[in-house]
């Protein structure tokens, strides 16, 4: 059997050393126009872990991400982000907390009147006390991370869907957030571009050890993430050696009718006896 990759070993050490959850939902409920979207859900995201969130359309996955960022307030329950109960925080206090959390929206949500450079640098420019040289250096650094350095002066309308998604990732990670939220990052993309995005997410997980919640419809993306690690030397994603499956910090959460019906790792998901889950993953 091949020796366990160094990245995986480091990852395991890191996760073991810090188990405090970075996100915790406690009996969270929210309804829109009297229709319950989330109905008393509870789960937590341990530091360093990436949790893939599944559910049919309209099951409240994107709502969950917006709740985690304080963009929506729940009707009931508590949400803790980095130890802060965000349901009790004002919008002004949330602005400070959001500097530690990055989000990639489903349709990228890039500012269409700003260039790629200005989009990616937005948060740094808003902070106001960073020099232009430093901003330029960091923008180039994150754009090179997503391999889009050549698009600096382009506008979002000039980019393909996959490129916009990668710029959105660059914008989310420029301040090195402790938590990343991905809303269907591969939706509507071709398989090759999807693999590129998945590789970037795995790289973010394994190299920068960022805790993440990833909403997705594509089960295969999450299974790829659970069965691969990022090899820093080769600068590419590699399959875990046989027997090492489950050793990367990856878990799964499934929503149904506003409730959490599964929260566990890939092994538990694969061996679930629940009929709905078996049908979902088949």
């Amino acid at each position: 059997m091949a020796a366990p990759p160094n990245a995986v070993e480091e990852r395991l050490d890191s996760v073991a050393s810090s188990t405090a959850p970075v996100i915790k939902f406690e009996n969270v409920s929210i309804a829109f126009e009297d229709k319950a979207v989330l109905d008393g859900i509870s789960f937590h995201l341990p530091r360093g872990e990436t949790k893939a969130v599944f559910g049919v359309a309209g099951s409240g996955k994107s709502t969950m991400l917006k709740l985690a960022l304080g963009l929506l307030k729940p009707d009931a329950g508590s949400i803790y982000v980095l130890g802060n109960d965000i349901t009790q925080m004002s919008e002004e206090e949330l602005f400070d907390l959001r500097r530690k959390v990055g989000i990639v929206f489903q349709e990228s949500a890039l500012f269409d009147s700003l260039s790629v450079r200005e989009n990616v640098a937005f948060r740094l420019i808003e902070e106001g006390d960073i020099s232009d040289e430093e901003i330029e250096r960091r923008v180039r650094e994150v754009l090179s991370f997503v391999e889009l350095e050549h698009t600096l002066d382009k506008f979002p309308a000039e980019l393909s869907g996959g490129m916009r998604r990668r710029v959105a990732i660059a914008r989310a990670i420029i301040t090195e957030p402790e938590i990343l939220l991905y809303d269907s990052p591969t939706a509507g993309l071709d398989p090759v571009t999807s693999t590129t995005i998945v590789e970037l997410i795995v790289k973010q997980r394994d190299v920068y050890k960022t805790s993440s919640l990833m909403v997705t419809h594509r089960l295969q993306d999450a299974f790829v993430m659970a069965s691969h690690y990022f090899d820093r030397q080769a600068n590419q994603m590699r399959r875990l050696p046989p027997g090492a499956r489950g050793e990367v910090p990856m878990s799964f959460l499934i929503l149904r009718d506003g409730k959490v019906i599964f929260d566990g790792d890939a092994q538990e998901l694969a061996h679930s006896k629940d009929e709905y889950i078996r049908e979902y993953i088949s």
Partner: protein, 269 residues
């Protein structure tokens, strides 16, 4: 589709629900307006955005405002001349144009022009940002969209409408002068002299207070409808129309109230 099907698709709202929604809308508008003002005293101030908006709103509206002012003054002179001639008071034409333009028509027509052009622009721009999640993205990136988008538009509109109104007043007087001179043989210098002398402090004050209020109304209403846009491109279109209708209507209603109020304050004739 049959008429029955169409009717069954129309959602009926109870009167109490309707009233609740309207009160909620007024409350949201008041809160947005208050936040736009309070943000003036909180950093960062987004001066560059204010200048950009001032250029878009002020310089961009200059041509329509000047043309509206000129032709309103000319039409006013033309309409008044007929009546004044009957009483042998044609020389009063400059006074009539001057007082009407400065106190009423200049501020109101300029505001209506700017409302048509800019309230719609603000509602559609901000509305598009709402439906494409750009506003959520801005909040997620730690920036207050009210501070970044609404406050600069309010300041720029108030500031520029003030000066646009002065220019519209001047062009109105000029339009009246051109028409009076060419059509009725009024002496150019006499026109300007009597038009100038009739104006008192109350006229000018009334004419300059109104654009400040109208500018605030246009920008806050435009931004409010933009921020409230829901339902994709159709929702943005609806928000744009509503912004123009509501801001224009509010301008004429507030105009009447303010005119009455200032008349009372000044014990005006």
């Amino acid at each position: 589709m049959a008429a029955g099907d169409l009717l069954s698709n129309i959602e009926l709202i109870s009167p109490s629900q309707f009233a609740k929604e309207k009160i909620q809308a007024v409350q949201d508008y008041a809160l947005l307006s208050a936040r736009a003002v309070v943000n003036l005293f909180r950093r960062p101030l987004y001066v560059a955005d204010m200048i950009q908006q001032a250029d878009l709103i002020g310089v961009g509206s200059l041509s329509i405002v000047l043309l509206t002012g000129f032709f309103t003054g000319a039409a006013l002179a033309l309409n008044s001349a007929n009546t004044l001639q009957r009483f042998g008071s044609l020389t009063l034409i400059a006074q009539l144009v001057s007082v009407s333009m400065v106190r009423e028509l200049g501020p109101v027509l300029t505001a209506l022009m700017v409302a048509g052009r800019n309230a719609s622009g603000m509602a559609s721009e901000i509305g598009s940002m709402v439906v494409t999640e750009q506003i959520d993205a801005m909040r997620a990136l730690g920036t207050d969209p009210v501070k970044k988008l609404v406050t600069p538009r309010v300041i720029a509109t108030v500031f520029m409408l003030f000066f646009l109104t002065i220019l519209a007043d001047l062009l109105g007087l000029f339009g009246g002068a051109v028409l009076s001179t060419l059509s009725f043989g009024i002496d150019w210098h006499q026109y300007w002299s009597s038009g100038w002398q009739i104006l008192v402090f109350q006229d000018v004050f009334t004419g300059l207070v109104k654009p400040v209020l109208f500018g605030f109304i246009i920008a806050t209403v435009g931004c409010y409808y933009g921020m409230s846009a829901r339902g994709g491109t159709q929702g943005v279109g609806r928000a744009t129309t509503q912004a123009v209708v509501a801001s224009s209507l509010l301008v004429v209603v507030v105009d009447t109230v303010v005119t009455r109020l200032l008349m009372t304050v000044f014990g005006y004739r």
